[in-house]
């Protein structure tokens, strides 16, 4: 897969010439076919994300946040519109190229952790490195380093069932970072955690963004989480209805801010 080499991006968008965008979404539409005809989950989403951004996506349940994240994560393909990552159009990519993209460029963190129960924490973290063709000794060394980075240096040999939810999510984050992707995607990463553990995970994302220059996009229902980011995108009915710094977006509850969501 041709493309510019991944160099450590500048930490955060600084002054000067605008960097080349990491992600460009142009008029993304996603339709789901069902018995009752097709359902439009995304109705023309356009979004540009620059390297080093820390971005939160908010919106009521069913508004299309996960659908959007799956497209950004190259797990799903849009029905219409263009999605470019690092200047490359994903719709032109072959299946192995998309797998390669998921492997090298993107780290995905799920609400339900999605660790493989049979593997140890270390082997879970090392799994993407297997598909990257990294030799066994280096896989192990990197997995240990990453587990130490997320504060689980001593739990490499534990299986997911032996870890708490917060610890499992840290393993999942370490796994998402294993290959050294520039982009970290997290769909409600704190959704299955208590608020204290959630805050720790959020701090970890923030540190990764600030200290390592990883671009982070996370989906959250929690305004407190969104407030810790640099940019908040609000989605409703498959459309972006607001996009800006958290202080402003969170202060202007759009027509979307259903009480049910705020309450949760």
């Amino acid at each position: 897969m041709p493309g510019p080499p991944v160099s450590p991006p500048p930490s955060g968008p600084g002054p000067g010439p605008r960097p080349r965008p990491l992600l460009v979404l142009e008029d993304i539409v996603k339709d789901y076919a069902s018995e009752a005809g097709s359902f439009r989950a995304l109705a023309g989403v356009s979004l540009t994300v620059n390297p080093g951004e820390f971005l939160a996506i908010m919106g009521p349940s069913g508004s299309g946040k996960s659908t959007l994240m799956n497209i950004i994560g190259a797990l799903d393909t849009p029905s219409a519109g263009r999605f470019l990552i690092d200047g490359e159009d994903t719709s032109a990519m072959s299946e192995p190229a998309l797998a390669h993209l998921r492997n090298r460029a993107i780290g995905f963190v799920f609400q339900q952790f999605n660790l493989l129960p049979r593997l140890t924490a270390r082997d879970n973290v090392a799994l993407p490195l297997v598909y990257a063709g990294v030799p066994a000794r280096e896989r192990r060394a990197r997995a240990e380093a990453l587990l130490a980075r997320v504060g689980l240096g001593d739990r490499g040999g534990s299986r997911p069932s032996q870890l708490s939810g917060g610890q499992q999510q840290r393993v999942a984050i370490a796994r998402a970072l294993a290959v050294g992707p520039r982009l970290l995607l997290a769909d409600e990463p704190t959704g299955a955690l208590d608020s204290r553990t959630g805050a720790e995970i959020l701090a970890l994302f923030k540190a990764l963004n600030r200290e390592n220059g990883v671009t982070v996009i996370l989906v959250t229902h929690d305004p407190g989480v969104a407030a810790a980011t640099d940019r908040v995108v609000r989605i409703q009915d498959g459309r972006i209805v607001d996009d800006g710094p958290p202080a402003r977006v969170l202060a202007t509850p759009g027509p979307a801010a259903s009480p049910e969501v705020v309450a949760s």
């Binding site: 799903d76 797998a99 390669h100 130490a148 050294g180 720790e200």
Partner: protein, 428 residues
């Protein structure tokens, strides 16, 4: 939060590595996956184990039978025609026309010996007798014949010598004995020059035949005493001594190709000599031992083939079992497949993973089957009158066939796994 440790550097944005470097880790995963489901894996492998064991056992028995038949034929002397007194009996065989009166004469044998392509013709009779040497005695098979017998049998004394044509004509009281008789009558001491009595007549042992082992049906062919025919006719067999009749004439033919012609020539010769009219039936029968051996070999070959086919069917059933369990496994592990795809596994890697699992099942099953089959073959060697033979080729073939079965029946489940869409697999 801990001290800000640096992240591991990104893996260089190299082209996709392809599946070759995945072989090692995926093999390890296949082993782990099967080990995690030990009972299920074992039950799945049962079909392969039984199939492979059956094939190995059948081939070992088939090889053993063939080896035995070949040895028997070689030991009988190749290109052998057996002429028996009495009409051909349905069911054929080696029966010496028991109950019927001998119709063959020594002169018949001499006439046959003069036919083209005949190397030797040995007239012989046989009877069972108690043979006595000093205080010991032994019930054995006594064969009476001419020196041609040793040629026809391709069996010459290793100690001492065979009796000569002169000795035979003069009814010399000499005997050649087999290893079993030597052991039973004389133990460890040298039998040469010792005396033995057959039906009250004393003979001097002048030769001991080398060991020949078991014949078809487990007969001990070393349990034999060979006496000159004339002496036996006069002294031992008593009645009909001067009619010089024998039950059997064994004929050694020069080449296998000449055997049908010689058989025909013998038939014509004997009919003429016995004065049989065109309407009369033969008063003798001719058996082609090579043909009998071949028929026997073909029959056992067919039986092994049949049993091999049964083994083959259980292999296919085993393969279907593998396919079934792999389909179950793919369904159960759909989410795992989705996770792996999300982490960057291309479809080829997913296919490889499940193919290797199927292959492991079939190959481990095969290895266990080879062990079981070998054990059963060794057991069969104890129970059968001949040793079974496990050829390395059959083991190699078993592994090759099992690998083919693993790939063939693993392909569809593996492809099903690889075809899943990452997002749908994740949502399952």
């Amino acid at each position: 939060m801990n001290a800000p440790l640096p992240l591991a550097p990104p893996v260089a944005r190299a082209p996709a590595p392809g599946v070759a470097p995945l072989l090692g880790p995926m093999l390890a995963e296949a082993v782990a996956a099967l080990a995690a489901n030990r009972l299920r894996s074992g039950l799945t492998m049962l079909g392969m184990i039984i199939g492979v064991a059956a094939v190995i056992l059948m081939l070992a028995i088939g090889n053993g039978v063939q080896g035995q038949v070949q040895r028997s034929i070689a030991a009988l002397g190749s290109n052998l025609l057996i002429v028996n007194s009495g009409a051909a009996r349905t069911g054929g065989g080696f029966s010496q026309g028991a109950g019927s009166r001998p119709t063959l004469t020594l002169d018949d044998a001499e006439a046959i010996a003069r036919l083209p392509d005949v190397i030797a013709a040995a007239p012989s009779s046989g009877f069972t007798a108690q043979v006595v040497a000093g205080p010991t005695n032994w019930l054995t098979q006594v064969t009476t014949s001419t020196p041609a017998w040793f040629t026809v049998q391709n069996w010459y004394p290793e100690d001492g010598r065979a009796f000569s044509a002169m000795e035979e004509r003069q009814a010399a009281r000499v005997a050649v004995i087999g290893q079993t008789v030597a052991r039973q009558l004389f133990g460890a001491s040298d039998p040469l020059g010792e005396l033995l009595r057959v039906r009250g007549v004393t003979f001097t042992v002048i030769g001991v035949l080398p060991e020949r082992g078991q014949g078809i049906g487990g007969v001990d062919r070393d349990d034999v005493v060979v006496l000159p025919l004339t002496a036996s006719l006069r002294l031992v067999q008593g009645g009909g001594a001067f009619r010089r009749f024998v039950r059997t004439i064994s004929v050694a033919v020069a080449t296998p190709e000449a055997m049908p012609a010689v058989e025909q020539a013998i038939t014509e010769l004997l009919r003429r000599r016995h004065g049989l009219g065109p309407r009369e039936e033969n008063d003798f029968s001719i058996t082609n031992l090579t043909a009998v051996g071949q028929t026997f070999q073909e029959t056992t070959g067919a039986i092994s083939l049949l049993l091999g086919a049964i083994g083959g069917i259980s292999l296919v059933v085993g393969g279907i079992g593998i396919m079934n369990i792999m389909l179950v496994s793919v369904t159960e592990r759909t989410r795992e497949i989705g996770i792996r795809m999300a982490l960057g596994a291309p479809r080829a890697a997913i296919r490889l993973q499940f193919l290797l699992e199927a292959l492991m099942l079939s190959l481990v099953g095969c290895a266990l089957g080879v062990l079981l089959g070998t054990g059963l073959s060794l057991l069969a060697s104890q129970l059968l009158p001949f040793p079974t033979i496990i050829s390395p080729a059959s083991v190699v073939a078993a592994f090759a066939i099992s690998a083919a079965i693993g790939i063939f029946f693993g392909w569809y489940p593996a492809t099903r796994a690889a075809r899943l869409s990452p997002i749908e697999a994740l949502r399952s």
